[in-house]
Symmetry: D2
Subunit: 344 residues, 4 copies
Amino acid sequence: MKVAVIGTTGYGGGELIRILHNHPIFRIHSIHSTREEMPITEEFPHLENIFEDSLKKVDSEKIAEDADLVFLATPSGVSGKLAQQFYGKDIQIVDLSGDLRIKSAEEYQKWYKHDCVNEETLADAVYGLSEWNRENIINARLLANPGCYPTAALLGLGPVVAAGLIEPTGIIIDGKSGVSGAGKSLSKTTAFAEMNDNFRIYKVNQHQHIPEIEQQLKLWDGHITPVTFSTHLIPITRGIMTTAYVQLKKELTTAEVIELYQETYLNHPFVRVRKENQYPSVKEVCGSNFCDIGLNVDQRTGRLTIVSVIDNLMKGAAGQAVQNANLMNGIDEKAGLNFIPIYP
Amino acid sequence: MKVAVIGTTGYGGGELIRILHNHPIFRIHSIHSTREEMPITEEFPHLENIFEDSLKKVDSEKIAEDADLVFLATPSGVSGKLAQQFYGKDIQIVDLSGDLRIKSAEEYQKWYKHDCVNEETLADAVYGLSEWNRENIINARLLANPGCYPTAALLGLGPVVAAGLIEPTGIIIDGKSGVSGAGKSLSKTTAFAEMNDNFRIYKVNQHQHIPEIEQQLKLWDGHITPVTFSTHLIPITRGIMTTAYVQLKKELTTAEVIELYQETYLNHPFVRVRKENQYPSVKEVCGSNFCDIGLNVDQRTGRLTIVSVIDNLMKGAAGQAVQNANLMNGIDEKAGLNFIPIYP
Amino acid sequence: MKVAVIGTTGYGGGELIRILHNHPIFRIHSIHSTREEMPITEEFPHLENIFEDSLKKVDSEKIAEDADLVFLATPSGVSGKLAQQFYGKDIQIVDLSGDLRIKSAEEYQKWYKHDCVNEETLADAVYGLSEWNRENIINARLLANPGCYPTAALLGLGPVVAAGLIEPTGIIIDGKSGVSGAGKSLSKTTAFAEMNDNFRIYKVNQHQHIPEIEQQLKLWDGHITPVTFSTHLIPITRGIMTTAYVQLKKELTTAEVIELYQETYLNHPFVRVRKENQYPSVKEVCGSNFCDIGLNVDQRTGRLTIVSVIDNLMKGAAGQAVQNANLMNGIDEKAGLNFIPIYP
Amino acid sequence: MKVAVIGTTGYGGGELIRILHNHPIFRIHSIHSTREEMPITEEFPHLENIFEDSLKKVDSEKIAEDADLVFLATPSGVSGKLAQQFYGKDIQIVDLSGDLRIKSAEEYQKWYKHDCVNEETLADAVYGLSEWNRENIINARLLANPGCYPTAALLGLGPVVAAGLIEPTGIIIDGKSGVSGAGKSLSKTTAFAEMNDNFRIYKVNQHQHIPEIEQQLKLWDGHITPVTFSTHLIPITRGIMTTAYVQLKKELTTAEVIELYQETYLNHPFVRVRKENQYPSVKEVCGSNFCDIGLNVDQRTGRLTIVSVIDNLMKGAAGQAVQNANLMNGIDEKAGLNFIPIYP
């Protein structure tokens, strides 16, 4: 199968190359960027002798003719426009941006501060939380790949929310992300001398991943009320941890909760539920497509603490995108994703 | 005034030297450790040509005779025993450990897993949250210096809890600390290759700072129920951020909350309340005794997010200890503490 | 082919698992450690759901019977003893320690401070610098895998030394390594709070890799005199850079030197020679088996600066060990080693 | 004494504020930047409640009237022009850029790639290597503060070069710097996700500090030939280490060399020479004005290894600038510089 990648010079694009170059079924047919004609190795010298294709301009007609699937690793705003160009053509579309995730145009505009794609395109986009929306993903032509924070938070919250075990109000999600999540644009905030040996909170109560999280939570439990979701920047390159706090409706032991999670994710190879008293650190998944989950019920408060970690560029972006592309094409969802976390 | 320092070779002890060496009133009379007779520069080569005293053994009789004040920078378990030895002698005691903070012996034993100091000593110990317990601190002979996390969390929560503005149930405090907070003992968890580019949660719902936080919150509002307090390790050396989530009883704007905080801390030079839409990062206080606070009310949820940052070795340990020693002796509380945060 | 790994719980052992688990020909038959019977996931939780074998005790008779090849990822001192136990049995041996590298027993004892393996074993050990000793490696039964620093330094120096283009005296090699190179033993030097935001020099003029580097240089040019080799610790987890300074015998341009290197390494897929004015950073090889080399001739001094970078756990240890095992068995040297550097 | 600071929003400017705000003699009279009228706290929130002056535009007439001394913390190119404006006016000038350091206009243009200041101004500028040019500094009106790398390298090389103990050819200096040395301009190279867990070499044989180092070495020993000087970027915020390699003319022990250094720097409080077998790490000076030096003679090669560390923003910039300003005004050179290294 021939795939095209648009937005190849960003971190998500680079990670797609790392995965797709060794993929057993997909073959990179062309890579695209606004910086056309430059060999990709000028931006990514680590690819020398491995993958040295040159970037091409984005010609959606030609791409749709030549390739079977296109990954959009472009920023919000750009992705939506591209998705509309490709929509209706004979090509599968996997979009890594937030442009196709929010079903309400109003909500999208409120949080993203610009216009949404057209209704028709939006209606056909399938939300690609691989472990929870598989039935729709396998028939999707247009896939909205989840955000990095939502992936970690939702995989962590899914089992108890879907089972109706927690109070629908007062969910708190405290998120922490490595700096690659901010992308490759230069900013003072993400300059080394500013971020090294530092830790900061950002976009307090304003992160655009909030409506994405709430939309999915409400699909599981219609009573869910607005959540509090905070985002912090960790001085690490890759990795996200979300620590979620929820109130249990009835008394449950940690062991019982862990059992529920293990059952829920039994046939999902990329989610690993930790044993009692064990909690994942972000390094234990880095470089891989795993989401690791740790759980603890505090008997003093009746609250459950849910710890989820992912590599934001893998399960939080390019990894889940390929997992979804596998599912869309009837391929083993693990194909091309047998990365063992790089440790230490 | 002559001061002695016990436990000088730890990070808290080293920081006390950094402060006291240039203090206008206190003079380091002697330093002590179990590693007696070694020049302190063997442990701390950064002190060469600056302060080169040798460590002496701990002889409480002699120390009480020679010095006016003793800082105990020793671990929990050791500090309590030393405090009892010094108690009743003609010397002021400032203990940086957790041994004298918890008024309930039962609670202490539950969380610290060993026996408490005797009732009499405990009863006389004054909790040294400088900004909130000043009246007692100025008359204290035996001071229990607050923990690092509790300092950040309580300075952040104090104004709204004491004013009765928040629901007493469901307080969530998500804490993040630099690795120096774990002290100098070697462990796999805090080895560089394990912690670099990593982020981990630890002691989930079991941290010994929980009873300390709850004890003070209940002094402010007797209705407070058990809190959820989580602790994470950031790959930085110094610095703590606590992100606290509380439900407001009535509608308030962020501006109103900020105003309350600014009034509360008006005469407290080490607490800096940030303007609306500004949030402190840990580097903005590192090396100094400041606690910086950022605030945001989420109108969607009616919840207030409170961000506090401190340098765990300064305001979270040695800095606040000297601030308290200043107060105990009628000295300007800023004496010896005019450190400007080292940035970047 | 069935392989056994001894010393599995160290960083080199963990990296061998990461490579071998997906290797097309080698199959991990058994893993061994002094911590027998423990599942490897207790030490390496990142391997959960991937590879969960339990550690077995080291029984050389049984291992030699069951496996075709054994990797010794054990420390110097231990490896030598094990190599002697396996020597002469029907099993290939690849030792990652320094115990079999130095042909002179006297030199070994001088730098390693303990006794050497017996003469017979030592005589048969083949030095596994894959790109330069291929002819001997393909027939080896007992392979001494090179040290991390020597691999970087020698791949960088080889072309000009072997071609007789540099003065044999006055070679300076300034080495810098990530902290994983120090292994997993706990030490104050490698504790996070001591090493973070720090940079230190260690073992000045005393590093045990000095005789290994000189031994190989002398094979290329018998006139080589003792080198100066310095080692520094960088606050990163993986990666080595060596910066070597040599005096050219005659005038050469940077372009000419680069051409020589490109020719030398033409058929060596794991060495990448950079274009003029481009220099590799350590991240550009991390997670992969590449050694990247940058070159510059300073016309003012007639000196050549040679920059080499490797991932110390890959090309500097486990990666090169598997590359050598491939060569020893007539397998494509790239088998199991198609890792793309993980960037960023 | 009233001082003005120009270029206040850079890292050097920020560090000047940190020092000058608590200086016993100098008083900050005004701060200047192209970003006039902005309160400095908008750029440096860590200064809130401490120092909140607003930036003013640069009016050299007015500044020369109002202030006694001006610090130029502006970039190369800008500083030279400002120095010429202030030159001849009744104000002392301390320039932290490279614009006044190189006595040969030709050399300056070759390395800095733009024009030099006029001859007259250049002729009057005094090179401010505090420990070696004191006699001229105390009478200077126009001071060229040394570069960060040259400060570390020259303090390390001075004693043996000035004493004529080393061969004048073949000096190698391998420099490593923290990222704050690159200043505050944004660049891909110094973005967190690119530099974290990374290590890179840059400006190979082309760094503009080369002529500065050679100029001073030749003042000590006219036979010195061009040096090899390399620069690497360490993933730390502050700190420089230079490792210098020189050939001794005659046999000397490490102890003898250390004795020479201790004598040379006997009356220089900011240079600390380490004992045999002890080597400084960069953290041991960070936040302070110290330069620490470690020494080792390799009997195998007759070469001396010289390790120097400084905080690039202190002894490498703002700290030495204030030290020089002290000397220029007959004040104790330590005034305002009693910072103890912040450790850890």
